[in-house]
C-alpha cells in the first residue's frame, strides 16, 4: 500500500471495497492494530499507533476493537452464547457475568432461542450473527468486519449487512466493513474504493471524492 490517506469516522458504516489483492486486508489489519505499518502514521481512536506497543497494544485491542471474520472463527466446542462471551472472558470478566452479557447480545442479533446451540448446529447466517454478537459484547469503539457476507448466499448476506448496520452503528463507534459484494454497497454510509494498493476514490453519501 502507498499513499493511503483515509479517515474512518465514528457513527458511520464505512465499506472498504476493491478487487482481490488490492490491499484491503492489509489496511484493516493495520487499522485493527494487528500489523505494523512500515511507514506513515496511523491514529487509532485518537491514539498514535506508534505509541501502542507490546502489551499496551494487546490490551488496547481487547478493550476497543471488535472483529467479525469471513469464516466466523467460532470455537466449535463452545455454545453460541459462550462464543459470544469470549471477548469478555479474555478481558477478565467472570464467566457468569460474561455469559449474562452475551445473552443480551444474542437477543440483540435475534438468536435468543439458539444460545445453547453449538456452531455446527447453526446455519452460516446464524454463525455470523453469533460472531457479530461476539464482536459487540465488549462494546468496542471500532468494529472491523472482514468480508462478513462472503460465505453466505445473497439473502443471508443482505440480512447480515442489515443487522450490522442496525445494531453496530452508533455515534461513538466506527465500523469498517471489507466487502466486494456490490449488492450491499447501498448500505454503506461511506465507501472507500481501493485498487492496487491505493485509495482510488471515496464515496461519501452522494459525493465522490478522488485523491
Amino acid at each position: 500500500m502507498r499513499g493511503i490517506d483515509v479517515d474512518i469516522p465514528y457513527g458511520q458504516m464505512t465499506l472498504l471495497v476493491g478487487p482481490s489483492g488490492c490491499g484491503k486486508t492489509t489496511l484493516i489489519s493495520i487499522l485493527a492494530g494487528l500489523l505494523d505499518p512500515t511507514a506513515g502514521e496511523v491514529v487509532l481512536l485518537g491514539q498514535n499507533r506508534q505509541t501502542l506497543r507490546g502489551s499496551r497494544l494487546v490490551r488496547f485491542r481487547a478493550e476497543n476493537i471488535g472483529f467479525v471474520f469471513q469464516q466466523y472463527n467460532l470455537i466449535p466446542a463452545l455454545t453460541a452464547v459462550e462464543n459470544a462471551a469470549v471477548p469478555l472472558i479474555v478481558r477478565g470478566v467472570s464467566r457468569r457475568e460474561a455469559v449474562e452479557r452475551a445473552h443480551i447480545m444474542m437477543k440483540e442479533v435475534g438468536l435468543a432461542d439458539r444460545v445453547k446451540s453449538f456452531p455446527s448446529q447453526l446455519s452460516g447466517g446464524q454463525q455470523q450473527r453469533v460472531a457479530i454478537a461476539r464482536a459487540l459484547v465488549n462494546e468496542p469503539r471500532l468494529l472491523v468486519c472482514d468480508e462478513p457476507t462472503a460465505a453466505l448466499d445473497a439473502r443471508s448476506g443482505r440480512l447480515i449487512m442489515d443487522l450490522i448496520k442496525r445494531v453496530t452503528v452508533r455515534p461513538d463507534r466506527a465500523v469498517i466493513v471489507v466487502t466486494h459484494d456490490n449488492r450491499v454497497f447501498d448500505l454503506g454510509d461511506r465507501i472507500v474504493f481501493m485498487s492496487d494498493g491505493l485509495v482510488e476514490s471515496i464515496q461519501d453519501g452522494t459525493t465522490t471524492a478522488r485523491p
Partner: protein, 390 residues
C-alpha cells in the same frame, strides 16, 4: 481462561482421548515394566529381605551374591563370635536341593506320584532358630525342632501338591531323607520360583549332598551402640572374611544381577519403547490438535490474549492430558499388580508400583508433555494475529 482451554481441549474428543491414551500407554509401560524389573531385582535378594534379624552377613571373601556360595568351615562361626562388638553370631546354610513328593507313609502312591522340583533350603541355627520364617501361616517355627521337621512356603507347597489342600504332616524326600512338613509360611517370592524350605542347620546339612564344608553364612548381631560399618571392618580384619551390613549385602546382590544379566537391558528397551511410543502418540496428536486450532488461537490473539496467557492455556491443556494419562496409566499398572496378587498366581506376587517408579513415570510423562507443548507453543507464539483475516 483455563475454562476456555479446557473446552477447546475436550471439544475434539478424538484427539483429546488420543493424547490421553498416548500418555496413559507410555505411563503404563514405563510403570508396569519398571515395577516388574524392581520386583524381580528384589526377588534376587528375597532371602536377605526375609532374614532381617541379623545386622551383619559374613561370608567368603570372594562371594559376589547370595546364590554362588563357597561354604566355609564351621569354626568360622567362632572366629566371628570372638570379634569385639558382636552380640551374637549364628550359622546359616543355603543350598539348592531336589525335593520329591514321595510319600513314605503311603508307598502305593509312589508309583503314580514321584513329582520333584528344586527347592531353596535354608538351614537356621539349631538353638536360636535365628533366620527362621517371620510370617507363619500354619504351625510354629519351634516345630522345626521336631524330628525331620521342615517349614515350607505356601506357594512352594502349592507347586509341590497342586490342587491339594494344605495339610501339615505331609512328607517329602530330600537326598533320600524323609522330611515332614510341620508348618507353612509366607516368604518374599524368590527370583527362581522354587519352594523355600526351612530346616534346622543340623538337619539341613543332612538334606544336601555332602561337602567338606557346609556353612554358607554367619549371621551376626551388633552389640548396642556398635557402628555396623566399623564392626564389619573389624570382622573382616580379624577373620579375613567378607562382612556386610544387611542393606549393603542386599544392594550388592542386586548390583550383581544388574551387571551380569540381560534383565536390565531387556526391561530398559521396553521402558524406552513405552516412552518413545507414548511421546510420539501424545506429542504428535497434541501438535496436530494445536495446528488445527491455529485459527482459534489467532482469533484469541486478535481479541487481545497475550502470548503469556496463550502459553498458560497450552500448558494447562498439556497438564490436564498429562495428569489424566498418568493417572490412568498408573492406575492400570497398580490394578494389574493387585489382580496378580489376588489371583494367587505366584509369578508376579509381591510386586507393586514403588513410589520411586511412580515418580520416574511422572518425570517421563512430564518430559513427554513438555516436548509436546514446546512443539505446539512454537507454532502459536510465532502466529501473527493478522492471519485471522487470511
Amino acid at each position: 481462561m483455563n475454562w476456555l482451554a479446557w473446552k477447546m481441549l475436550t471439544g475434539d474428543r478424538t484427539k483429546y482421548l488420543g493424547i490421553v491414551f498416548g500418555v496413559a500407554f507410555g505411563t503404563l509401560l514405563i510403570a508396569q515394566q519398571s515395577s516388574i524389573f524392581v520386583g524381580l531385582m528384589r526377588r534376587t535378594s528375597s532371602q536377605i529381605i526375609d532374614i532381617s534379624s541379623a545386622d551383619i552377613w559374613v561370608m567368603d571373601r570372594k562371594q559376589r551374591n547370595i546364590d554362588e556360595i563357597r561354604p566355609m568351615p564351621d569354626n568360622r562361626l567362632y572366629q566371628v563370635r570372638g570379634v569385639a562388638g558382636v552380640e551374637w553370631a549364628v550359622r546359616l546354610s543355603k543350598s539348592l536341593v531336589r525335593v520329591r513328593t514321595i510319600d513314605r507313609d503311603s508307598p502305593e502312591l509312589n508309583a503314580r506320584d514321584g513329582n520333584f522340583t528344586q527347592g531353596i533350603l535354608i538351614g537356621v541355627d539349631d538353638a536360636s532358630l535365628a533366620g527362621a520364617p517371620l510370617e507363619m501361616l500354619r504351625g510354629n517355627p519351634l516345630d522345626l525342632r521336631r524330628p525331620d521337621g521342615i517349614i515350607i512356603d505356601e506357594d512352594g507347597y502349592k507347586r509341590l501338591f497342586p490342587g491339594q489342600p494344605i495339610q501339615l504332616g505331609k512328607t517329602l524326600d530330600m537326598n533320600d531323607r524323609r522330611a515332614v512338613i510341620v508348618g507353612t509360611c509366607k516368604v518374599t517370592p524368590p527370583f527362581q520360583t522354587f519352594p523355600v524350605i526351612y530346616a534346622r542347620y543340623s538337619q539341613a546339612i543332612q538334606f544336601t549332598p555332602r561337602e567338606r564344608n557346609s556353612l554358607s553364612f554367619v549371621l551376626a548381631k551388633a552389640a548396642p551402640g556398635q557402628i555396623h560399618q566399623e564392626l564389619c571392618q573389624r570382622i573382616e580384619k580379624q577373620t579375613d572374611l567378607k562382612a556386610m551390613t544387611w542393606d549393603a549385602f542386599f544392594w550388592m546382590n542386586i548390583g550383581y544381577f544388574i551387571e551380569n544379566t540381560g534383565i536390565p537391558i531387556n526391561f530398559g528397551i521396553t521402558v524406552t519403547l513405552g516412552f518413545v511410543v507414548g511421546a510420539a502418540i501424545a506429542g504428535q496428536t497434541f501438535y496436530l490438535f494445536t495446528i488445527e486450532n491455529l485459527k482459534h488461537w489467532g482469533t484469541l490473539k486478535a481479541m487481545g490474549v497475550t502470548n503469556l496467557r496463550l502459553i498458560g492455556m497450552i500448558l494447562f491443556q498439556a497438564g490436564v492430558v498429562g495428569a489424566m494419562g498418568y493417572g490412568i496409566g498408573l492406575g492400570f499398572s497398580a490394578l494389574f499388580f493387585e489382580m496378580m496378587e489376588r489371583s494367587g498366581q505366584p509369578d508376579l506376587r509381591g510386586m507393586w508400583v514403588p513410589w520411586q517408579v511412580a515418580s520416574i513415570a511422572a518425570g517421563a510423562v512430564g518430559l513427554i508433555i513438555v516436548v509436546a507443548s514446546l512443539l505446539s507453543l512454537r507454532k502459536v507464539l510465532v502466529l501473527e494475529p493478522a492471519m485471522v483475516f487470511k
